[in-house]
Subunit: 411 residues, 2 copies
């Protein structure tokens, strides 16, 4: 394994004592030049270099460990060079903690033809998005969603832009193949992803001199929903000099299939090296997905849900407090039943929002169109996800994962 | 003067030694049940029970002393009774400092036919707004801007709703007569305002039992731009058992006229009682207006500008830092000249925004449509106004008002 100065990953405890969970759920510590993360951890999306509605100071106050920026958005605006001139993404956006950037590929392959979440969940119905003009051996050619201009993103370009952004953890460029393309396309796409991965590793080696600071490279396992392809991709990925791995691409159309796909990739990743490497699950971070993914040994998750849900008036709540069997993991505060509800949003949460405001006030803010509604709900959703991760870690440490999960979802 | 337990106003210093400023600029302390305010002070508008984009915690961190809620908006949604059930506006919105509510009249008389600011500045061109259905001796009849339903607001209703909201300082209902109606209308309107004022005082006496907490009543001086009417209204107002006074209505069409109108009202207000009472200038709070108004002896100002400007990408700056002679008191961060400007927004400001972010990042956030742009600019604008008020107070204390004002506006 390559040397990654300033980075370390250690597993502190692994679930073994609970016969109900034979999988390798684990708690660990991921050290980066910008601080240490307790895993499993949630990575919050600062898509364009900003968490929607939440300041970096508030992110910290709600126990956030790590955030991510999207290379695709940031390379188009303000541009990698502009970010570098401002001292990197950390300095630009006022976040001095651990940070990850993706390769930019996911947005190119999914934007314009459906939502990103529909893409990875396998239920995208529309045709290949028009933003993507061509996938060549050299890289992907795409149109800017801002001004329609044509851009190319090669594996080398992605590494170079991610060097300019300066996140701690960076990702190789992969082709994120859709659900409906079938086995042949998926196999060819995986092979291209592997060739791109080798070029990324080479570029990472070349570019490491003179970069803003030490960075750690993650590879990405592809292979769709096909067990043999997933295994092949995981074995290929595990053989590269990466610091960590990400599981990407189509992960199936429901939670059950998702679990299966993740499971296919884990064994090769975990047995390839004498010491464990951190494993990230790309773009998946629903409450249930986190319990399921962490049970399989996933160390970090990312998802836009906490802030997107807030923008639409939604707040995460455990089912016990949602008072409505239809609402699995969140409530919509605009609902009339909250008009006269003077209880805190979440009785077991100690975030700024829950300490300060009632449900009825949040209901009022949403009806009045006040932007503080989005801010307050986003603060809660961030705190909620961080608390959830703490519960997951505690359950792993206590070897009572099944009981803890059941208790989390109890009504 | 009536007894106002929990309230006190003391003048600590009055400008006398500066021959360039013969007016009675003064610094003082206004004690309320929710804390003390150093005057001159700026009152920030939490129109619907929320400062746009800024949390109460952030308002405090940026040295905010007092905020206001709008009775008109809050009586329509969520309604005075709903606010009372939630424990009052302080508790509902998480602000435990001093608070003021207006009577609701200003919005009724100005909404729908032009902006509120155009109304008081005398440059409203359109006809009487359709939201206002009728002005009767009993009160104003108007249509809700939310659902079109018909409402009545009498002087007694206004006091009752303001009791439910529970602000420290409350205002009597007045008719805010437009600029263009002429002397006869203005005189009749003033007389109606005075009859309403007497009913408000009576209702305030009746309602004081059983209210949420002690409150202080302010009267309002009307009389348009006519010196004799302004004097008559000021003398009438000064004779009522108010804790303080507000100067309202049409204040002329430019800063020069505004100063004149304020000047007309001040002498009767200041000579009527052996001890001074606090004087509020309604809805006026541009940077220049504050220097001019404080010079005349105004103690508190309110204006929606700090947050409204932020919503449109504007940030207050002293002219010395604006780098553009056309920008009198603020800059627009969307301007392309800020794209590569890595300086802090305001080099002499220590607010969260200026400590953390560059101009080019704020420019990026505005272009990207991120709501944190509004939040960060609003935080700065709040801090800026509070710093401005500190400079005004220091200038009065040091008896160098003319020099301090010139220095503030120096390029």
């Amino acid at each position: 394994m390559a040397d990654y100065p300033g980075f370390a990953f250690t597993v502190e405890h692994q679930t073994t004592a609970d016969p109900a969970w034979p999988d390798a759920a684990r708690v660990g510590r991921l050290a980066t030049p910008h601080g240490e993360i307790e895993t499993p951890a949630f990575v919050f999306c600062a898509t364009r270099g900003a968490i929607r509605g939440v300041t970096p100071e508030q992110m910290r106050a709600e126990q956030t460990q790590i955030i991510l920026g999207n290379t695709y958005h940031l390379m188009l605006q303000p541009g990698g060079e502009a970010v570098a001139r401002l001292g990197g993404l950390h300095k630009m956006m006022g976040w001095d903690g651990p940070m990850l950037t993706d390769s930019g590929g996911f947005q190119i392959f999914s934007l314009g033809g459906g939502s990103a979440s529909a893409e990875i969940k396998g239920n995208r119905k529309s045709e290949r998005p028009k933003m993507l003009l061509n996938i060549e051996e050299e890289g992907a050619v795409f149109r800017s969603y801002i001004d329609g201009s044509t851009h190319k993103l090669s594996p080398e370009d992605s590494i170079r832009v991610q060097r300019q952004l300066g996140a701690d953890i960076i990702l190789v460029l992969d082709e994120c193949s859709p659900y409906e393309v079938g086995r042949d396309y998926t196999a060819n796409s995986m092979a291209l992803t592997h060739r791109w991965a080798e070029r990324s590793v080479a570029e990472f080696g070349r570019a490491s001199e003179g970069s803003a600071g030490p960075q750690a490279l993650y590879g990405i396992v592809q292979g769709g929903v096909y067990e043999d392809l997933r295994r092949e991709s995981a074995e290929f990925t595990a053989a590269q000099p990466y610091f960590g791995y990400a599981i990407g691409g189509c992960l199936g159309s429901d939670s059950f299939e998702l679990e299966g796909v993740v499971g296919m990739a884990m064994a090769p990743l975990n047995t390839a090296t004498p010491t464990p490497r951190p494993i990230h699950l790309l773009g998946i971070g629903g409450v249930g997905d986190i319990w399921d993914g962490a049970a399989k040994g996933i160390d970090t998750f990312d998802c836009v849900n906490p802030t997107r849900l807030a923008r639409h008036g939604g707040a995460y709540l455990r089912p016990a407090f949602a008072d409505n069997p239809d609402e699995r993991d969140h409530v919509h505060l605009k609902n009339a039943r909250f008009r006269d509800d003077d209880a805190p949003l979440d009785p077991e949460c100690d975030c700024y929002t829950c300490r300060t405001f009632s449900r009825s006030y949040l209901h009022h803010l949403i009806k009045a169109g006040e932007i503080t509604a989005t801010q307050y709900l986003a603060i809660h959703n961030v705190a909620f996800m961080n608390r959830l991760m703490g519960e997951v870690r505690a359950a792993i440490r206590a070897d009572n994962y099944a009981a803890a999960k059941a208790s989390w979802f109890a009504r």
